[in-house]
Each structure stands twice: as C-alpha cells, then as structure tokens.
C-alpha cells in the first residue's frame, strides 16, 4: 500500500471513529441506549480489528513492551464492561489460592487491551449472568483468563483455537480470537512465545499465556 493510500486510510479511520465516538456520547447522554452503545462500540472494534489484521499481515506487529500490572488492566476492563452490561456481573476475581498472584507482566499495553476488550465483549454477549477475569502466575509469566457462564465455544472454534485465519473470516468472534492468538504469539521471551487456549468449563473459558 502506498504512503498516500495509508494516509487516506488513516484519515478515513479517524473520521469514522470520531463519528462513532460522537454517536456513543450522544447515546450516553440519553441514558437509555446501552444496546445501541454496545453496537457502536462493536463497530469500532471491528474497524480496529481489521486494521490490526492488516498490520499483522504486513508484519508490522512490532511490540512496544512495558511493565503492566495485570490486575490493574483486568480491573479496568471489568469496570468498562460492567458499565456496558449492567445486568451482568463483570468482575475480576482473585487468583486460584494454590497459584500465586503475578507481579508485573511485560506486554504491549495498547495491543493487549484491544484484543482482550474484544474477548470480554464476546463473553458479555454470551454470558447468562457472570463474566470473570483472572490473572495468575504462569511459569515465568502470566496467564490471563476470561470466562463466562454462557453456552461455551462451538466445537469448530475450539478446534481452531484462534490459530486459523480462515476461521477468522467467519465472524467477529473468529477474528477476535485469531488476533488474540497473533498478539499472544508476538510476545516472546527467549525461545518461549505466548499462546492462547480455549476450553468449555461451565461456559466459555479463554486463557492467554504471556511469557
């Protein structure tokens, strides 16, 4: 893509996101349009995902690593989505007692927030009453877990576990998982790369391992 096309694309994204932002705030002001707010946010996420996919395809997923408090990141995500889904309980839960609480994780905060927002959004849509977010120690890194009490992942999604690009074409869930997998794998420590894992345990359970 030429520099000019890139500039035009950026300007277009900027324009659309500004308009979506305006829409969100107008809906917010009315106070009775949560569903419409969620749709507007979903549109913005799709746009961001498309751009991220494009950057990832161009091999432009260079990370800007910084020390991030995993609990703080999950707290922020939980409170954001609690406000959008007030009928659910969206909470960060403490680590499993047998496993210790992680200190810092060394991640690209922006990229990680983006892909995790998508996962949490999906979990909120699928959940019956509760979405839990949890950070625990994992080897020399961190495991971030997002689980809900909905119907769980379909078998086809469990099979590909976010690693197949063709599955990403089948909807926002597939694309979100594919990008989460790409961002996890881009986080490396020596020979060890990050990964994601999906399972069904009383609902869908998404885990991201970051070395």
């Amino acid at each position: 893509m030429s520099e000019v096309t890139d500039m035009l694309l950026t300007a277009a994204v900027h324009g659309v996101k500004n308009q979506l932002g305006e829409l969100l705030w107008r809906l917010d002001a009315r106070g009775d349009c949560l569903l419409e707010q969620r749709i507007a946010l979903r549109c913005a996420q799709r746009l961001s995902s498309a751009l991220l996919l494009w950057r990832s395809a161009q091999d432009q997923l260079a990370l800007n690593l910084e020390a991030v408090d995993p609990h703080e990141m999950l707290d922020d995500l939980a409170s954001e989505y609690q406000a959008l889904f007030p009928d659910l309980q969206v909470v960060r839960v403490e680590p499993i007692p047998a496993r210790s609480s992680p200190g810092w994780m060394f991640v690209d905060r922006t990229l990680l927030s983006m892909v995790l927002s998508d996962i949490v959004h999906n979990a909120c849509r699928a959940a019956r009453s509760r979405v839990s977010l949890r950070a625990t120690d994992w080897q020399q890194g961190v495991c971030l877990e997002i689980s809900d009490d909905g119907p769980g992942y379909p078998d086809a999604v469990l099979d590909t576990a976010g690693s197949a690009l063709h599955a990403a074409a089948e909807g926002q869930t597939g694309l979100g998982l594919y990008l989460a997998g790409s961002v996890a794998r881009a986080h490396r420590r020596q020979a060890q790369a990050g990964a994601i894992e999906l399972c069904n345990a009383g609902g869908a359970c998404f885990r991201m391992y970051l070395p």
Partner: protein, 537 residues
C-alpha cells in the same frame, strides 16, 4: 465514576473536531475542573500555553494539519514549554502510529484509543491522575532540574513498593546519567534488564556505557536493541551520535537514514540528519530530508528559521545558489525576530554571492556586520563569518569565528565548522588550528584572571570581569560557572543582594542546562545554602 481528582485542575483540550471538543468539554466541565479551555489547533494551543499553565493536556493525535500531536508534544518538551508535571494525553483513533517509540522524554503520559464512552474516558483519566499524584515529587524536582532530589523521590517510591516502580526506575536511571553517575546508572539498567530486556533499559544501559567510555559495548547494545525493537527511535539517534563522536560521519548518517526508513523523523531528528549530511559532504541528502520535512510541516510552529537556513546551505553547497534564495525569502517573511533575521540574512549573502549577485550581497552584508555586535548562537556566528569572508570582510569574519570558539572552546563541531569556513575562504588548516588555539588560550587567560582576582579578595573586580565574559559567552560553562561562584562568594561576604542572587541563579541554570553534572554546580549550591535569608521586618 466521578472525577474527584479533577477538582481545580486546569485542562487544555486540542482537537480539530468540533463534535469531539464539545463532547470532552461536556464531560470535563461536569467534573469540576478549575479551568477548561478547548482549541482546534496547535497555534491556538501554543498561545494558550504562553499565557497560562495547565495540569492536563488532552491532544488528538491527528489534528488534520501538517503537524501531528506527537510532533507537537516533542516541540513542547524540547523547548521546555510545559512542566514535567503536566500530563500530556494523546487521543488517537488508530493504534498503529504509536508503534514508533519516541525518546522517553517525548512520549505522552498515556494514549486513549477512540472511540470511548464517557465512563471509559473518566476511568482512564482517573488512572493517569493517580499516576500524576504518585509522581508529583519526582516531576517537581525534574522541573527544577534538581537531579539529586529526583533520585531521592524515586528511591522513596521504590522503597514504598509503589505501583509505578518501573516508571521510577526509568526516571532514576536518567537522573543518574544527568549527574554523571554512569556506574550506578549501569547497575540500575542491568537490574531491570535481568527482569526483562525492555527497550528503554537497554537504551539507558548504552548511554551509561558510552558515558564511561565503552563506546563499542554501547554500540553493540544499541544494535541489539534496534534488531529486537526496530521502532525504538531513540536507539538510532544515540547510535548515530556515537558513530559521529568516533569521527565516522558516513556511518552516523547511515544509522539515521535507517531510522528515517522506519518512520518519518520528528523535526529534531531531521535537523540532526541535515547537520550530519552537511558535515559528511552529502548536501543532497540534507536537501531532500529537510525539504520534505519543511513541506510536511509547512504551516507548523515546530519549524525554526535555522531549518530553512540549513536547507539553503544544502543547496548552495550543490551550486544551486539561485534556488537557495527561495526558502530564505520564505523564512524571512515568517521569522522576524532579530536572531532569525541575522541567520537568514547571512545565508542570503552566501546564496547571493553564489548566484553572482555581488552588489546585492555587499549591500546586505554591510547592515549585517553592524547588527552582529552582540551575543549570538554558534551557527549564526559561523554563517555570518562565512558571509564576511565571501564578501571580503576578513577582519569581521575572524572576529565572528573568535567569538564562536571562545563561546564553546572544547566543542569539536564548532572547530570543524570554523576550519570549514576558513578553508572555503582559501585559508590553510594551520591557520584554522592557530585561530582555535589562540582563542582557547585567551578564554583560559580571561578565566584565570577572574579567578585570581577573586582569590586575592577583589571579588568586585572578579564579578565585573567574569559577569561581562559570561554575558558575552553564555555557552562557555567554565566562565559562566565561575561567574556564578564568585557572585555567591561575594554575597557570603557582603550579605544577600536580590539583584546579584538573580544573576547568580541565572548563571547556575545556564550551567545546569548545558552540563547537569558540572562539579561547580555543587560548589555554587553549597555557598548559596549558607546564605542566610534576610530577617523579616
């Protein structure tokens, strides 16, 4: 979430979108801000910042102008236009641009990715304000350039196990380097790297190694950093400077060209690249990079008259003197202050001579010599010197070069420029060396005379001599620091004097700015701390 933290805060919003400005205004005005100003562009933002200070700046990255939010932030930080305590938050629609990592001091405090609901916005702002509060003591000490206090404040955060420990380590490393405590800085960065090889830590380690003279190890660390974090721009810039210091201008230039291929440079990098290209005898590179950058920022306040002067210089060096006149004429219309006028006129004389317009050049030159009697930056002095020699005003040219060398007697760049001017005027390198040596000696004699007067007890004579010299040679840290020192001694003997204290602090600040680890700073501070405050009446 309520924004109790915003109570009484002064907030500046910069966004080209009317709708976004009004949305942010609506949210923020309900949160009890002490002052809230929204502006649509950088120009108005700069006017506002000249008139008052703000605690928080919310700036859209994409301003629909030639200069983006990042360039604007860099302009603010490098020109010290905002306090370190001021939060600068970049609002962006696209996460892609921030892949390019700026030097730590030019990075925003946070990025807010659009779109967001009012609740999301408030929650993010709340987090950043918490961080601002936690780092308050550090930021205030940074504003005062009191690096010892910065280190103390960082240590306090680290000992208390604060959540901002990594931020504190990053700032502490930088402060240690400012004080010349490179060994301690090296240990700190190695400690961080043992946990994780974060790009800023490796960059800091390279700085620490280079300061201790291990340029090879520093360069290796930087190459490693660039290989693993190719968008860490600060690493290219430091590597280029190290190559330049080793005398390999071609390699230094090549490093910056690699950076330029990753991302278009900020004006600071473009200036560095332009300078380097001119020194390396590659004016075509300077012309291309500066020409593109000035076109991109054509309406922006991040430009300086010196950028146009460099562009013109790169053209005259390629025998395109007639073309070189165009950017100079354009710049003269925009930059009307005395210093810019002198610099641009000097380059105009050079271009006019090159274009065969000897009469016009001579006419302009006469006025220039008359006006160039006072203190001026090294580049201006050099340009005027070159213009003088070209128009046959050798004596005036020699005076300019003498001033430039005396102002920065140890600066190799100034020596190189002086030799180049003399070479272009047909003088031998021996002539250049002699000029540099003579003026280095003169300035040492001047300094010694002042110090001797002070030691013999004639502090007034010492102050008179050294203050005059300091005002004439503001970049000469030896002279300026001794001027501050003798004033402090005088006040210790005769008692505090408001006017003398102001002058002393001004000199001290000038030294701290140019050489934060200068040993005289501590001597000045010790003397000043012994001054008793005047009794209240």
């Amino acid at each position: 979430m309520t924004l109790g933290h915003l109570q009484g805060k002064r907030v500046l919003v910069i966004d080209d979108s009317d709708a976004m400005r009004s949305q942010l205004q609506q949210t923020l005005s309900g949160a009890g801000c002490g002052r809230l100003l929204t502006v649509p562009n950088i120009r108005q933002a700069l006017e506002a910042l000249k008139a008052e200070s703000f605690d928080i700046i919310l700036c859209d990255y994409y301003l629909g102008e030639s200069t983006d939010g990042q360039q604007f932030l860099e302009h603010l930080r490098t020109n010290d236009l905002i306090s370190r305590h001021t939060l600068f938050i970049m609002i962006t629609a696209e996460q892609g641009y921030q892949r390019v990592v700026q030097a730590a001091e030019c990075a925003p405090d946070d990025y807010f990715l659009k779109p967001f609901t009012a609740a999301q916005f408030n929650a993010r702002l709340h987090r950043v304000l918490e961080k601002q509060d936690a780092l308050q003591a550090v930021s205030k000490a940074t504003d005062r350039k009191d690096w010892l206090a910065v280190i103390r404040a960082c240590d306090a955060l680290l000992e208390s196990g604060d959540r901002h420990a990594f931020e504190a380590l990053k700032i502490k490393g930088s402060a240690l380097l400012k004080l010349g405590r490179a060994g301690e800085a090296e240990a700190l960065y190695r400690q961080v790297i043992a946990t994780r090889a974060l790009p800023w830590a490796r960059h800091g380690l390279a700085r620490a190694l280079a300061t201790q003279g291990d340029v090879q190890a520093a360069s290796d660390v930087l190459e490693e950093n660039i290989a693993e974090a190719p968008e860490h721009m600060a690493s290219y810039e430091l590597l280029s400077r190290l190559r330049q210091q080793s005398g390999d201008l071609g390699a230094a230039l090549h490093v910056l060209e690699r950076a330029q291929a990753v991302a278009p440079g900020t004006m600071a990098r473009v200036r560095h690249l332009g300078d380097l290209a001119l020194q390396a005898g590659r004016p075509e590179v300077a012309e291309q990079v500066l020409g593109e950058a000035l076109q991109r920022h054509r309406f922006s306040p991040v430009r300086e008259a010196a950028d146009y002067a460099r562009l013109a210089q790169s053209m005259t060096r390629q025998n395109k003197a007639k073309q070189a006149l165009a950017p100079l004429v354009q710049a003269k219309r925009e930059f009307r202050d005395e210093q810019s006028e002198l610099l641009l006129s000097a380059h105009e004389v050079i271009a006019l001579r090159g274009a065969g317009e000897a009469n016009k050049a001579e006419q302009l030159m006469k006025g220039l010599i008359e006006r160039a009697q006072h203190v001026m930056p090294g580049d201006t002095a050099m340009a005027i010197a070159e213009a003088c020699y070209l128009t046959g005003h050798e004596q005036a040219g020699e005076k300019m070069l003498a001033h430039a060398v005396q102002n920065a007697p140890e600066d190799q760049r100034v020596h190189g420029q002086a030799r180049a001017v003399l070479r272009a005027a047909g003088k031998s390198d021996e002539h250049g060396d002699a000029l540099i040596e003579t003026n280095q000696r003169q300035v040492i004699l001047l300094n010694n005379e002042g110090v001797a007067k002070a030691e013999s007890g004639d502090l007034e004579a010492a102050i008179s001599l050294l203050s005059n010299a300091a005002d004439r040679l503001p970049n000469n840290v030896l002279i300026v620091s001794n001027a501050a020192l003798v004033i402090a001694k005088q006040m210790l003997v005769r008692g505090q004097d408001a006017e003398l204290l102001r002058t002393c602090l001004r000199y001290r600040a000038a030294v701290a700015q140019q050489s934060p680890a200068h040993p005289k700073l501590q001597q000045i501070d010790t003397l000043l701390s012994r001054l008793r405050k005047p009794a209240a009446t």
